[in-house]
């Protein structure tokens, strides 16, 4: 079912400058050439009846309901498949057309249940609407004959055509008895999602929709994106929430709080209750598509585990005590003041969240800088994309991706490095797959055979299956080929880049030690493959690089980002559509939290705290003296806590005890602090070590903005009241006031106004303007009043592009006899990050535990079978998971996800980090894997500790 408020024009819009004029029912209308008659009519205000057509899909022409008459043409062409021509004269309603349409509808209805009043689609059923529109008054055929409607024939025999409901998917129901075989679901799966899980099985009256090889939906290849459910014109595919709750009565546009794609959604509501989430067709990042998380996995927002009252305790071994907001806020303020009085001004700090809004993040860093009087503020981007900020700033001058997502429509060569878009950024993954199906070439650089390497109608031209930790060596080898084979775009480099830095880089990268042949043994990638891939990237037309945490989360993360920027500059693949350097951000607001000055060394807009002019502007606006030296980064905070100099931490929406590496080190740091304040939806892993819990609110309960991976600022809109009484920004404001630093914002829009005043790249941004334009890509200011889809067009933000030297320094994390395998970590489609949200939804149907993926060869050597318990041991710690034997892995490399706290994936990861930013080296840990019979010692301790903490929470609830 489509959104309750969107207008469906039947066929997609056509982008062209050429227009034609035609006449429909006597009305003259001018539309882009290539537009269908159906769409042109719709734009003229005439709605031609239709069933198989929807503007989310290409025209199909099967239902025969949208027929029209065209002057000078024979017959009754389908308006959906007929393009407009100059001077065309169309009649959409004649006696003959009415007769044909009634006949068609009569046939449809003769094989459709007449339970409209109790049908989930009632009130928004396209079949019902069309029956009304064509004036169907009788069905002469009766229901005694062959049909798909009834389980039994009229003689009481089993009806061979009838198929019972499929309720295997936790989020939607497939009821084949209501299917009109319009193929909209099948086409949505192909065109929109690109999974090709659905098909029409059989011919003629036998035709039916089938998932994979006639499997139940849950057992099929279906990824539960919901595009089919959205496309279905009847109740054949319906959200279970719609079945339970009935039609929504209003619709609010907001932005998804999961990954960095930042899909725009319409929350379709009844009062404060969400009936369904429908991706917004006008959404600039997602164009009406979504994934299983954004559309369906929102149950966490109303999960009973949510804690909606503040709680306090003296020691983490004490039971929690429920407190009023006044008491909790006063307590935090007095504790932080006490700590600063006793241990000094720099003994406290804060962590902002990439899951919170820009406005909330801005306030937390303002509280730390202006209220605490230090710069001890950091964000979880530290542990994911801080190297992106460093590397892109150093080379191009701005800590952000260069393109919008739609840029890929003009890409000829897609280079994916250390990213798995079909799992981690699924909606953009679908867009990428669409472009690849249309013929763009694909190079994948990844230790694993990710889905993109071979997926329906797509095969990577080159898969450089490198050994984890050798990204920089591979990037240098690619650069070597480009430089030594004369593939540099000399014209671009001469005009756009610093000549001295380029010459130095050219000499450096042309050294024999960087050649594909010299690095082959180290990287594991055959030299010929590197050479071919480099040639394709440099000469294949518009080439765009997409990368993720497989690039950044290494000891050389920043070096690799600079290596990527070097490649793009050397080949002139910067500054226009179809090219560029595109970091795929992990969480919804990673880009925004970085933009908002969450890093300890930078004010909003990536300006160093040591810059006196910038600091003066903030001092003037905030009315306080600001510290001019960088503060502690998250890993430094842990070190300082263990050291005894860092005592108090305000954490908004982060779960460092699960997400940060070397868990035992993190928890030791938390235990060493005197006042840990956690603001979150749930008593997460970190909150088990907290002294104060402040209830947070979900994205549905507050106003604000998120900034996605393409620098796109989109609105988050409140659809229900905060369950705790306060939105997160209000909590930070209360805390600031209690600390003696006044804040008096009445609405998040006022916070954005302040951000805009103080940040040159945001000068033109306001809530009103975002609402007016739908979304804005920063920079948005006097020079770019409507935002900037593509950056560095005529010149780089820093003026000239700067090539950086990128020496390959092998990680100190090496395999040896004790730890002969490399562990690398990542995420999967159905779960998100630490899983706090998705674990509390039916998404566990797809992934109910983290498994260790291991190559059959490594498994056999260790006597490991599918499903066996295996111990994974590194120099940092040990944990136990069940094994999954998988040829996606290369021998010598094992993989796991970190979505469940009990898995202890980060018990194994080490303190190693990126040289420039301290971003942890999550992707390379030397481990040994053995068959075991019981959980690890850490897991036993974790289980006991979690049980104890649950008891302390239960005590609070009953007191």
């Amino acid at each position: 079912m489509l959104s309750i408020v969107e207008i469906d024009r039947g066929t997609p819009a056509v982008k062209t400058d050429k227009h034609v004029t035609l006449e429909i029912d006597g009305r003259s209308i001018r539309v882009p050439e290539g537009t269908s008659v159906m769409r042109a009519a719709s734009q003229a205000g005439i709605n031609i009846p239709k069933l198989c057509a929807t503007d989310m899909l290409e025209a199909f022409g099967s239902c025969r309901l949208c027929l029209v008459e065209i002057e000078g043409r024979k017959g009754y062409p389908a308006s959906c498949t007929t393009p407009v021509t100059e001077g065309m004269k169309v009649s959409t309603q004649t006696t003959k057309l009415a007769e044909i349409r009634r006949g068609v509808m009569e046939l449809y209805i003769s094989d459709h249940p007449l339970d409209c009043l109790t049908c989930p689609a009632n009130g928004h059923c396209e079949l019902q609407d069309m029956a009304g529109v064509v004036g169907l008054r009788e069905v002469r055929y009766g229901y005694d004959g062959e049909n798909h409607v009834f389980a039994k024939t009229k003689d009481g025999e089993v009806n061979p055509h009838f198929v019972a409901k499929d309720e295997s998917n936790p989020y939607f129901t497939f009821d084949p008895s209501k299917c009109i075989v319009c193929s909209r679901c099948v086409r949505a799966c192909e065109e929109v999602q690109g999974t090709f899980a659905l098909t029409i099985q059989g011919r003629g009256f036998e035709s039916k929709v089938s998932a994979s090889q006639n499997n139940a939906f849950l057992d099929s290849e279906c990824v539960s994106c919901g595009a089919c459910v959205q496309a279905c014109p009847t109740a054949t595919l319906s959200e279970n929430t719609l079945i339970e709750r009935g039609q929504a009565e209003h619709s609010v546009i907001t932005t998804c709080a999961y990954c960095g794609v930042g899909c725009s959604f319409r929350a379709e509501m009844k009062g404060e209750e969400i009936v369904r989430m429908v991706p917004n067709k006008d959404g600039h990042a997602n164009h009406g598509h979504s994934c299983v998380k954004g559309r369906f996995a929102i149950g966490y927002a109303t999960h009973p585990d949510r804690i909606n009252t503040p709680m306090i305790r003296k020691k983490i071994t004490d039971p929690w005590r429920i407190a009023s907001w006044d008491e909790a806020i006063a307590h935090v303020a007095s504790e932080f003041k006490r700590l600063q009085g006793t241990y000094g001004k720099f003994s406290v700090g804060g962590i902002t969240s990439s899951r919170c809004t820009n406005e909330e993040t801005y306030l937390v860093q303002k509280l730390v800088r202006a209220g605490f009087g230090n710069n001890n503020v950091d964000t979880c981007a530290r542990v994911c994309h801080s190297p992106t900020g460093y590397g892109l700033k150093a080379t191009m001058g701005e800590s952000a991706g260069t393109q919008d997502f739609d840029s890929i429509e003009y890409t000829d060569v897609v280079l994916v490095i250390g990213a798995n878009p079909t799992d981690a950024h699924p909606v953009f993954g679908s867009q990428m797959k669409r472009r690849l199906r249309a013929g763009a070439k694909l190079i994948v650089v990844d230790p694993r055979r990710i889905d993109l390497v071979r997926t329906p109608h797509i095969t990577a031209d080159y898969h450089l299956k490198l050994k984890p930790g050798t990204n920089v060596a591979v990037l240098n080898a690619l650069a070597y080929v480009i430089v030594t084979e004369g593939l540099v775009d000399e014209a671009f480099v001469t005009v756009r880049c610093e000549p001295e830095a380029f010459e130095k880089w050219r000499t450096f990268v042309a050294l024999e030690k960087h050649s594909p042949e010299a690095t082959e043994a180290e990287t594991g990638v055959p030299a010929a493959l590197i050479r071919s891939a480099a040639r394709l990237y440099a000469t294949g037309g518009n080439a765009a690089i997409y990368y993720g945490l497989g690039v950044t989360e290494h000891s050389q993360g920043s070096t690799a980002v600079m290596g990527i920027a070097n490649l793009a500059m050397a080949t002139g693949n910067i500054g226009r559509e179809g090219v560029g350097v595109n970091p795929l951000r992990g969480q919804n607001n990673v880009q925004g939290s970085c933009d908002m000055g969450s890093f300890p060394h930078e004010f909003p807009g990536y300006r160093h705290v040591g810059d006196a002019t910038v600091r003066a502007s903030f001092e003037a606006a905030w009315g306080v003296h600001l510290h001019d030296e960088p503060g502690l980064r998250i890993p430094n905070m842990f070190e300082a806590a263990i050291d005894g100099s860092f005592k108090g931490l305000y954490i908004e929406g982060e779960d460092i005890a699960q997400s940060d590496p070397n868990t035992q080190h993190v928890t030791a740091a938390l235990e060493a602090m005197e006042c840990v304040v956690v603001q979150d939806l749930f008593l997460n892993e970190t909150a088990k070590f907290a002294h104060v819990f402040l209830p947070g609110c979900s994205f549905l309960e507050k106003d604000g903005t998120f900034t996605n991976a393409e620098r796109r600022i989109s609105r988050v809109c409140k659809v229900m009241e905060p369950k705790s009484g306060y939105a997160d920004w209000e909590v930070t404001q209360l805390l600031a006031n209690a600390m003696g630093y006044p804040m008096n914002y009445r609405h998040p829009s006022e916070i954005m106004d302040e951000i805009a005043r103080l940040t040159p790249t945001f000068h033109g941004v306001s809530f009103d303007k975002i609402d007016q334009l739908g979304s804005i890509q920063w920079p948005c200011n006097e020079q770019h009043p409507e935002g900037t889809p593509v950056m560095h067009v005529d010149e780089f933000v820093r003026g000239k592009g700067r090539f950086m030297l990128t020496e390959y320094v092998p990680t100190s994390e090496k395999v040896n006899a004790t730890h002969p395998l490399i562990l690398t970590t990542g995420r999967i489609l159905s779960q998100y990050n630490v899983g706090a949200q998705t674990r509390r939804t039916a998404n566990v149907a797809w992934h109910e535990e983290d498994r260790l993926e291991i190559h059959p060869h490594d498994a056999e050597e260790r006597g490991i079978n599918e499903g066996d318990w295996v111990g994974i041991e590194s120099r940092a710690g040990q944990t136990v998971l069940r094994a999954r034997i998988s040829e996606r892995m290369q021998p010598g490399v094992v993989y796991t996800t970190f979505h469940f706290p009990g898995s202890g994936a980060n018990v194994i990861t080490t303190e190693n980090s990126d040289w420039a930013t301290n971003c942890p080296e999550y992707k390379v840990t030397a481990v040994q894997v053995t068959r075991v019979n019981q959980p690890s010692a850490w897991q036993k301790r974790y289980e006991a500790f979690s049980q104890a903490q649950k008891a302390l929470l239960d005590a609070a609830e009953t007191s």
Binding site: T559, R633, L805
Partner: protein
């Protein structure tokens, strides 16, 4: 803070700048990086460690910390 960790971090920075042909420029790069990204307490600690002999610091990292000490002391003067 754990001085071994700080030394390891300084060495990581030094190894990046090692590819710089001019070691004076390399040392300046290390010093600038430490100045821009390390909290003053950490800088003070690594400086003290250097004064005590700088055990474990690799040559370029060591030169970088020396340069950092000069910058920081100039600022204080």
């Amino acid at each position: 803070m754990n001085i071994e960790r700080l030394v390891a971090m300084a060495n990581d920075i030094g190894r990046y700048f090692a590819s710089e042909p001019d070691q004076v420029v390399g040392a300046a790069g290390v010093a600038d990086h430490l100045k821009r990204f390390w909290e003053p307490g950490m800088r003070k600690q690594i400086a003290a460690h250097l004064a005590a002999g700088g055990a474990g610091l690799e040559p370029l990292a060591k030169k970088g910390v020396e340069r950092l000490v000069e910058i920081d002391s100039k600022l204080r003067a």
